[in-house]
Each structure stands twice: as structure tokens, then as C-alpha cells.
Amino acid sequence: MGIISKYALLLGILLPTLLIPFFFIPSKSIKKYAGLLAMMAPLASLGIILSIANKVGIPQVNFVNWIPELGIHFSFLIDGISLFFSITTCMMGALVCAYSHYYLPKSSPKNSRFYAYLLFFITAMLGTVLSNNIGLLIVFWELTAIASFLLIGFKSSKEGSQKGALATLITTGFTGLCMLVGLILLSILTGTSELSEVLILAPTLTQIQPYLTTIMVLILIGAFGKSAQFPFYFWLPKAMSAPTPVSAYLHSAAMVKLGIFLIARFYPIFGGNSLWAPILITIGVITMVIGAVYAVMTHDIKELLAYSTVSQLGALVMSYGLGTTYGVEHDFYQILNHIFYKGALFMAAGVAIHTFDTQDLRKMGGLFKFAPIAGIAAVISVGAMIGFPGTTGFISKELLLHTILTIPTQKENGIILAAMLVAAIGLVIAGIRFLTLFFGNLKGLSEEHIDPPSMGIQLPIIIAASFSLIFGLFPQDAVFWCDYLRVAGLHYPSPASLSIWQGITNPLILSGGILTVGAGISWVLYKRKWVDCTLPETAKLETKFDHLLNTIQKISTAITAGVKTDHSPDYLMIILGFIAGLLLLILLPLFPELILPFLFKMDDTNTLGSLTAILIGGAAIATLIAKTNINKLIAISVVGALISFYFLLYHAPDLALTNLMIEAIGVVLMVLLLIRLPKEDTSQKVDGTLRKTANITIASTIGVIATSLILLMTNNQVLDSISGYFIEATVPLAGGSNAVNTILVDFRGFDTMGEISVLVIAAIGVIGLLWKKGGSINQ
């Protein structure tokens, strides 16, 4: 691989992010065409990625060193899965940029920030799907969470935006952590951090079965969080507070597809696991039904789309669960179907919200006359959503029904089919409900007040929608491309054909039934003006999540209020008490054998030493008992002087001399302080009995610990002291006979340098304190 193509892929991924500064150039023409310029970035990235794939072929690994010590490299795997998701990311990214150009208020100063976040997100997405290195995958995965947090919270002054962004970050962050643990375990167990190598090892991994199941569950939690599966789905409707282009992109095409990507990526490894199918099918089916039911039970246009997305994602997860050990078929086709129709519907919803200035479907209607192109696009897309013949949705639904009907008969079979039918009917009702905003009488606005949507804003919608129609009418074209992206282990070895008409089959009959029943129920609901479609707030999981967050906040506030005080000595007490308790806990088991026997080993008693020690102890206790400060000072200077003498007993003349001098200066300073001291207000400083007991307990515990540590360390020495070296080397190497002095100035000269620096710093501090407020030192 040439050096150019080696870095070209990295450049391709980073390109959108690298272009961000460009949007902050204060130039009027850049601001004017920002969206269209931003559109070029994902297209350029796509061009680079495709040309590399075309040049070297797939699958291939693209490798650049990053942190070799941690096994983290810029290592990218270009294969069918990553190419498929790169293509959809870049294509929808470009469409959304173009759409944003017309959607966002013209020449708003915030626009640069919006495109910056969006391009950053595209980079994170591309990095995630292309990563071959597990560490890199995690980094990019979390970057998508951060980028989506910024995008969802873009209207930062609104409370809904803040809450939505926070819910997204917390949910995907928590599930991302589970995935992190799973991936790290996988990397430890396989001994490699490269996904391509893990995939090669996949068939042999069954030996570590118990661990593998844990890893699988952890990784699936990560996937479920990102793809808004039960019980994490609530963040998706909350995230609808984002600007509509963001919803169209992140919450239909890009971010929520990452979980699906993860499932597809790990299918070859975990597909054979006995828990794989049950977990995916259960979660998928629950999510599918909840999403579809809630999509019907709302009046908010974006919430309707969000819940239908949740439902569709559940269906995708379920379809991976229904796959056989040979793999799955046409999964890319189903993903494509959802990306294009949902992107188009979100963008159409954005046009409607812009025009009607509301998100309530009951106050919208009759838009078709003013936005015919968006209207046609919406009709096509809703066709795909409800599975109308001629669209991708129809074939997608046929495939899913076919899979369910052909799995070996089990007792769960009926449940899955029933759930599928309920979800499909729900989506039909939601889809038809969506179309009411285009048809019927104009609502909320009078005709002369309406500001018809521009041509430019409708163009990306019809482009996205047309894919639904083209691939729906000519499924073989889509199959041809998906066949090129076939991945070993995930897909069947040989391609299967797709066509609209496969004769009168069971799936076709069911499809027809779904459409008829859905349309019938819609008609009834429409006649009743959709009054039945109100869901109580308490039934939503979002409300529970908010409640949970509030509770956590209350608990932490209560704990903080209980722990914090206004007096710093209290904190000192807590810290010292904690340290004392901890050390005591560690030392307690050592007492009987390693500490106590030495306490009574008085074989080296020395009368002078004992006498001095007793005097020092007495003076120390006197510092506690003494009433006035001067008496305390006298007691403490006695301690200092006696310690100098004690140093002498330890044959340390240098220490004795230094200590004596320092003590003398210290006492002088203290006396100066006490003389000039303004009277300290001691009225509030009398401690209660409890407090006094606590202080005594902590102090004596620390004293006991100090004694024990000395006895423990000196009597149970494991390693030899290095002092022998200093004694031997002091004359030959340093040329001095006083070993203490040679250590200070020769062997450890830099320590002494540091000591002098500390003194200088302390002196500067002292001068600064005394000179404050213009007074002189002598004052």
C-alpha cells in the first residue's frame, strides 16, 4: 500500500472536521453558502473512501500507528459493512447539509456552529463504522455521543433541548460504557485489538463460551442504547427537541443506525450463540410494538416520526435475531429503505413545522397546495413506511413476513407474527396520520399569511424519497449493489433475487390485510378527529427517566448538605478520621504477630534515653493542658530543645545543632506573633463533649498507628537498606568523612537545591503577607 493511500483514508474520515475552521471565516459569501459548502465535505469524504476501496479491493485493512504501547492504532477495516454505512452516512449527510442551508434562518451567527457540529458528527460516524481497532472504535463511538449532545442541545436556551441532550448523553454514555467493558474483555480474551483478527478467530471463540455470552450481552447493551431499543428507547423522542435537520439525520439515518451497525459487525462472532436470537428477537419485538403503538398515540409530528423510527429499529434488530447460522439476507436493503423514507419524512415535517409554526398535527393541514414537491415526496415516503407496493417498504415488509413465516415452527412463532402485524398496522395508521398535514383544508393560517416553502428546501426531500421509489420499482439494482458489499459470516454466500411480484403468496396476503385494516382504523380515527390518540404523560418511559434523574439529584443534594460544614477543621476531622480508620483496618490483623511482640522488647533500654523521652512526652502533654498561649509556647519550645538532645542520643550531631537553631528562631517568631496578635475571638470555638471525644479518638488512633508503623517497619524489614552504599562510598566518591554531609551536598545535591527553593518561596510568601495593604514589615 502506497504512502498516499495509507494516510488518504484517515484524511477522508477527518476531512469534514478539518473543514470546520473554514466556516468561522468572517466572510459574507461563506456565510451565505455555508450549507452548500458543508454539503461538499461528506461527498469528498465518500469519494476518497470509495476510491480507496475501488483501488485495493475489499475487504482490506488500512493501518497507521497511533499509540502502539496501548495497542491502539488508526486501523480501518474497509469491507461491505463499513462501506455500506459510510455511503449512507455521507449521502444523507450531504442531503441534510443542503436541506439545512434552506432550513436554518439566513445569516444567523449560530449557523457556523451548527455546521461545525454536523461535520464533526459526520467524522465521528465515519470513524466508528470504519474502525478496525477496538480502542479506536470506542473513541469514535463516544465522539458520536458528544457530537449528538451538541446537536440536540443546539437550541441551548430551551429547556426541552437541554433535557433531550442530557437524556441522550446519559443513555448512550451508560450503554457505551457497557460496550466498552465488553469490547475490552473481548480484546483480552482474543489477545488482539484488531476487529479483522477477532473476526478470523470467530469460529474458534466458542471455547470461551461463558465469557463470550457476557461479552455479547455487554456489546448488545451498547447497540440497544444507540439504536433506541427497549428499555433505552426514551431518549429518541426526547431528542426531537433538536433542530429538524438534526432529527432527519441523527435520528433516522445516522446515529441510531450505529447500534444496527454494531449488531451486523459482530454477527459473525455471536450469531451462533444460543442467547443471540432470543435476546435480539425479544428486545426487537417489544421495541417494535411499543414504537408503533406510541407512534399512533401522539399528536406531535416529530414524536410520531421518532416512535415510528423506534418501531422500525426494533424490526431491524428482530430481523438480525431471526437470521440463521448461515447469515442474513437483504439486511442492507431494509436499512436503506428506512434511511431514505425516514430522512425524507423528517425533512418534510421540518417544512411543515416551519410553515405552521407548531408541531401539533391537529393544527396542521392542507400544505400540499403550497409545497407540492415535498407533498409528493411525503406520499412516496409514507408509501415506503406503510409498505405500499412500488416502494422499498413493500419489499422490505414482504421479506420480513417471509422470514417470519418460514422459520421452523416454534411456539413463539405466532407471537412474533402477531407482534409484527400489530406494529405494521400501527405504522400504517401513523403514516396516514402524517399525510393529513398535506391534505384537507388549510388549518391555523389564512392563505395570504402563508409563506410557501422555497424550491431549494424541497429538493433534498424529493431526492431522498426518489430512492425509495427507484429501489422499490427496480429492487434488482439495489440487490446488485448490496451484493457487492456482501460480507462473509453475515450474509448468505450466494445472492438471492428480489422482485416486486412473486405471485400470490402468504406475505402478500398479509401485506394487503395490514394495509386494509390500517386504512380502516385510520378512517375511523380520522372521523373522530384523532381524539383517541392522546397518551397520558405518565405512561411514557421518558417521564420515568425524568423522575429518576430528579430523585438522584435530590439524594445527592441531601448527601452534600449532610456532609458539608462551614468550618474547615471539620473537613480535617473527616479526612484524618477516614485515614485513621482505614490504616487501623489494615494494621489490625497484623497486631498479634508482627507488632505487639516488639512493643515489649525492651532489650536496648537506656536510662538517659528513657528519661529524655518521658520529659518530651510530658512537655508535649503540657502543650495540650496549658491554658494560655505563652505557656503553650514554653511547653513546645521545651519539646524542641529536648528533641535536639534526643537527636544527640541517636548520634546525630548535625541534626541536634540544626534543630536547636531552628527552634530558637521559631520561638522568636512565635513570640512576635503572640505579642502583636489581636485578641482571637474564642467565644464560638468551645467544643462540645461529642466533638472532644471524636478529636481525642482520632488523635490517639493516629498516635497508635504511628507507633505500630514504626514497630512493623523496622522489625520486619524485607529489603536491605541502601545506607551501606553511602557509608562505603562517602570517602572514595565524595571525599568527605561525614556521611550525612556528603549525602546532602554530593549524593543528593538536588534535594538540597529543592530545599533551598522551598525556603525562598516561603520567604517570598511571608514578605507578601506582611506587606499587604501597603504596610511595611516593621509595622
Partner: protein, 102 residues
């Protein structure tokens, strides 16, 4: 003498911590002074019993001397301890004076 030192260090630590835990700045300074001594003796005790040994002056014929390393460390510690104590004393002076002036 070693065991005596160990007990003495424990006593000094106890007194120092008790003083530090009081709510008076002056007592805090006193406690810190005691703590310096306690820590110094703690380090010194690592050289074990000094009985029967000579000062760490290396002369021909002087074979058993006390461990010089703790002494070197303490020498540094004494000086730094003084620096910190001096700073604390002036800090307390400044705090109490400012509080009084207000």
C-alpha cells in the same frame, strides 16, 4: 531505646493531631510544630537503635556507625518544616489581623 522512640512518636503524633483538630489558628500552628518533630523522629526511628554505634563520621577503625540516610532526610525536613512554620505564623497573623481590623 528503639521501642521508647516508637511510643514517643505515637504520643507526639497524638498531641499534634489533637491540637490541629482544634478550632483555633494558634493551636493549629502549635500542632503543626509538634507534628514536625513527630515526623522527624519517625524518620529517625527507621535507623533503629543507636546503642553501641557511633556517629556517621567515617574514619579508619570506625566500623559500626548509625544509618546516615534518615539523618540527611531529616536535616532537609527540619529546614523545610521551619519554612512552612514561618509562613503559617505570618499567615495566621494576617488572617487574625484582617479579621480584627474589620
Amino acid at each position: 531505646m528503639h521501642t521508647i522512640t516508637a511510643i514517643l512518636v505515637g504520643l507526639l503524633f497524638g498531641c499534634a493531631i489533637y491540637l490541629i483538630l482544634q478550632r483555633s489558628f494558634i493551636k493549629l500552628v502549635f500542632g503543626f510544630g509538634l507534628l514536625t518533630h513527630a515526623v522527624n523522629l519517625f524518620i529517625l526511628s527507621m535507623s533503629k537503635s543507636p546503642l553501641g554505634k557511633s556517629a556517621p563520621i567515617i574514619t579508619p577503625g570506625n566500623l559500626v556507625s548509625v544509618d546516615p540516610l534518615p539523618q540527611a532526610l531529616i536535616l532537609t525536613a527540619i529546614v523545610i518544616g521551619f519554612g512552612v512554620t514561618a509562613y503559617m505564623i505570618t499567615l495566621v497573623y494576617r488572617i487574625l489581623k484582617d479579621a480584627h481590623d474589620q
